[in-house]
Amino acid sequence: MTTSTNKPTDRKNEKLIMDAGDISRAMMRIAHEILERNKGGKDLALVGIRTGGVHLAHRLVKRIQSIEGVQVPIGELDITLYRDDLALRKNQPILRKTSVPFDMTHKVVVLVDDVLFTGRTIRAAMDGLMDLGRPEEIQLAVLVDRGHRQLPIKANYIGKNLPTSREEQVQVLLDEAGEDDRVVILQS
């Protein structure tokens, strides 16, 4: 769980955008929005995109449970094999396992990711999901939308809209990955 005991960032080229409290509040708001839009947690499932999205999906599931008292099924998706730049890369990215242990038919699947940027990851994730089943609907929740879309993709739930330049790098650091919760912009 997130706390407000964040250490201040010690890297000089980092600019803090969201601290642990901001992330926690954004997660709570998104959980409420998901429940409101889908009229409760029935037929709802969350699928996190590895790796940041998986941690955030788990947090959302906990919040949905605390608000509505329903246990929403959760899956983990690795989109590596669906990337459109595999043939262009010198080294193959390391594969991680996909695990979606429930039937997606008739379910509203909320894809969860940390940063929405070009939209290519989400396209790959949607292709990956479609190979695993036929969800009734796919929605998208992201913690940060930094713009610069290259594909016509729009998130349904956004923690924070963050206008950035292409040269900047947005990093979502999470407790589960051994970091203090925070969103930072790295200046090059």
């Binding site: 094999l81 595999l86 043939a87 890369r89 193959q92 390391i94 594969l95 190979d131 695993l132």
Partner: protein, 307 residues
């Protein structure tokens, strides 16, 4: 960690980290092969050529299925219907195939070193699918994967490789890899089927099967390759079977949870008794199923190496 090599020719040249990377990658593909839609677009637009100069159904089909499940275009090339019968050399054949933009060539050849020769001559990645008596790296990798799948740890694992070791490329690849991973390897078979000075590679040699099987965790039976033996290396098949055939009785000498492996196709009643081949200890069909996932992993890792 990545597999920064153009070719996969042998396990002797692979590091422990590289072997583990292949096994972990194969694990992800095992999930894909368990799906209803067993196909991912990772190798879309790539061409894989199966260049098989020796008959093989199992390995060729396994590579073909692996490539197709990765969405690659696959060409199966057999020399009987090609210019090889007109006297074309291996390298010229491969260069012609390469000129057709093949990204990966999977080669099976009866001569040891053929894959290496080819790898030096072409820009495409070359995967050795068995070269003479030398190595058969993907078969050994799927053996390792199957062992790991059973929850066994390589470090301290006792493995008996039984049968015609001298003619077995599978055995050679497994010896290199298992010793590298910290396992104790025992070779069991008649002296006529043991390569000379094989102990220098690290394994212990047993001519008595009962001694060799004592307390082992894995029994790898090798196929009696009668087609490879120029002259008989044992008096009769019946005698070989009596001395080196794996029976349910002999299984009791091994560790209680021991597994039985075989690269196939099995000679029932010769190197392995039918009741052992069909027993719960047998992982022979798991090996075949895992072969596709492991080869998907190898093709995936190799496809990025020659970009």
């Amino acid at each position: 960690m990545s597999l920064k090599r153009k070719d996969l020719l042998s396990l002797a040249s692979l590091s422990v980290d590289e072997i583990m990377l292949v096994l972990e990658t194969a694990d992800s593909f095992k999930e894909v092969t368990g799906r209803e839609i067993k196909k991912v677009p990772a190798l879309r637009g790539k061409t894989v050529v199966n260049l098989f100069f020796e008959p093989s159904t199992r390995t060729r089909t396994s590579f073909e299925l692996a490539a197709k499940r990765l969405s690659a275009d696959v060409i199966n090339f057999s020399p009987s219907s090609s210019s090889v019968v007109k006297g074309e050399t291996l390298l010229d054949t491969a260069r012609n195939i390469e000129a057709m933009q093949a990204d990966i060539i999977v080669l099976r050849h009866s001569s040891a070193g053929a894959a290496e020769t080819l790898a030096h001559g072409v820009k495409s990645s070359v995967i050795n699918a068995g070269d003479g008596w030398h190595e058969h790296p993907t078969q050994a990798l799927l053996d390792l994967y199957t062992i790991r799948q059973r929850g066994m740890n390589f470090n301290g694992l006792r493995v008996a490789i039984v049968g015609d070791v001298s003619h077995s490329r599978v055995a050679r690849s497994n010896i290199y890899a298992l010793i590298k991973l910290g396992a104790e390897v025992r070779l069991v078979g008649p002296p006529t089927m043991m390569p000379s000075r094989v102990e220098k590679l690290g394994p212990k040699v047993y001519y008595n099967m009962d001694e060799g099987l004592r307390d082992v965790h894995v029994i790898m039976m090798l196929r009696l390759q009668l087609e490879r033996q120029g002259r008989a290396q044992f008096p009769t098949i019946r005698e070989y079977s009596r001395l080196y055939g794996l029976t349910a009785e002999r299984m009791r000498l091994a560790d209680a949870g021991a597994i039985v492996m075989h690269p196939g196709p099995i000679n029932r009643g010769v190197e392995i008794a039918p009741d052992v081949a069909d027993s719960l200890s047998s992982v022979i069909l798991d090996q075949v199923a895992n072969g596709v996932a492991v080869r998907m992993g190898v093709l995936y890792l190799m496809s990025g190496a020659n970009s």
